[in-house]
Subunit: 186 residues, 2 copies
């Protein structure tokens, strides 16, 4: 199923800030509309004046059984009432990353960058959904969606700092951080 | 980009035989139309009376650097003039497979089932394209497309026998083998 985010002048999430870490920016928008997952046949171009990002959820591609057991024991669901803050981070890795084989990517993700261990430190405060976009021919490889309570913003910022300091992030060539706040009633 | 196969009464590949190995069959058709890759926004439902299978190509998900180097040195391109035979194999694995973590799937795929080693034995005679369908919400997890010269049919059959005898195949719960022949002028 394809998940879509449409940036424009309406939606359930209001944009509070948008930072381009590297690569080309996205046009600034006031709202993001997070659409329910749908089959590819239901896909459509973005409305005029809007951008659209799409991806699919998948199984975990680098996580060992032991790591996954620890993650699943602590990770919260999306949609918690107190989680009024969200962040959408579209990200593209470099051709050099995709030229690596599975064992090389796993070594960078796991032993060298401690991606899962860093993520575990943010649980159960921060809910996360990873969507894969690269195989769809999208401009980004991944869209990550985070949800957390306003009181957890500092923890979220520290999570990003830790991930971006890891060797894995040397392969990131485009990254945009869009901070959102849930619209009342949405 | 999304690759689509449309089974019906026209297309560049004529169906010579269709075998259901396990799980529900697909309706019998006379031709398969292999469409050029397109963005999700170009997707459409299948025409009436036809079936449609779709998937995306991706990076290799279990292959080490050493294995990939051996594969790339030997694997032929699609579309060789002599490769007038093709096979389309849609396949679904069980929930038990998808409940495994990456390290467990890799152990089954590699050391226990020798998937890559078996595949190497069919190179350079048999060209192969693997498409991923599961994350799109499709009825199959994978669509594999093979192309070979008529003289290589025996080698292709032995490849399938060897793969299906592996521990990995105990996780296959639906598999259909559609043999095709290129239509002259297509």
């Amino acid at each position: 199923m394809i998940h879509r985010f449409i940036g424009g002048d309406q939606g359930g999430w209001q944009v509070r800030a948008q930072h381009t870490l590297c690569g080309a920016p996205l046009p600034a928008v006031a709202f993001v509309d997070r659409r329910p997952p749908a089959s590819p046949a239901a896909a459509a171009p973005a409305p005029a004046g809007h951008w659209q990002l799409q991806g699919v959820s998948s199984h975990l591609r680098y996580t060992t059984r032991a790591e996954r057991t620890r993650l699943q024991a602590r990770q919260p669901a999306l949609g918690r009432p107190e989680a009024r803050c969200a962040a959408l981070i579209p990200l593209r890795k470099s051709p050099a990353w995709w030229a690596l084989a599975q064992d090389e990517r796993r070594a960078l993700f796991g032993p060298r960058s401690r991606h899962t261990a860093i993520g575990l430190g943010a649980l159960p405060a921060i809910a996360r959904q990873l969507l894969h976009a690269r195989d769809l021919g999208e401009p980004f490889d991944f869209l990550t969606w985070f949800e957390f309570a306003p009181s957890e913003r500092g923890r979220f910022d520290r999570l990003l700092v830790a991930l971006r300091a890891s060797p894995e992030w040397q392969y990131v060539e485009r990254e945009i951080e869009i901070h959102l706040e849930r619209v009342d009633g949405a």
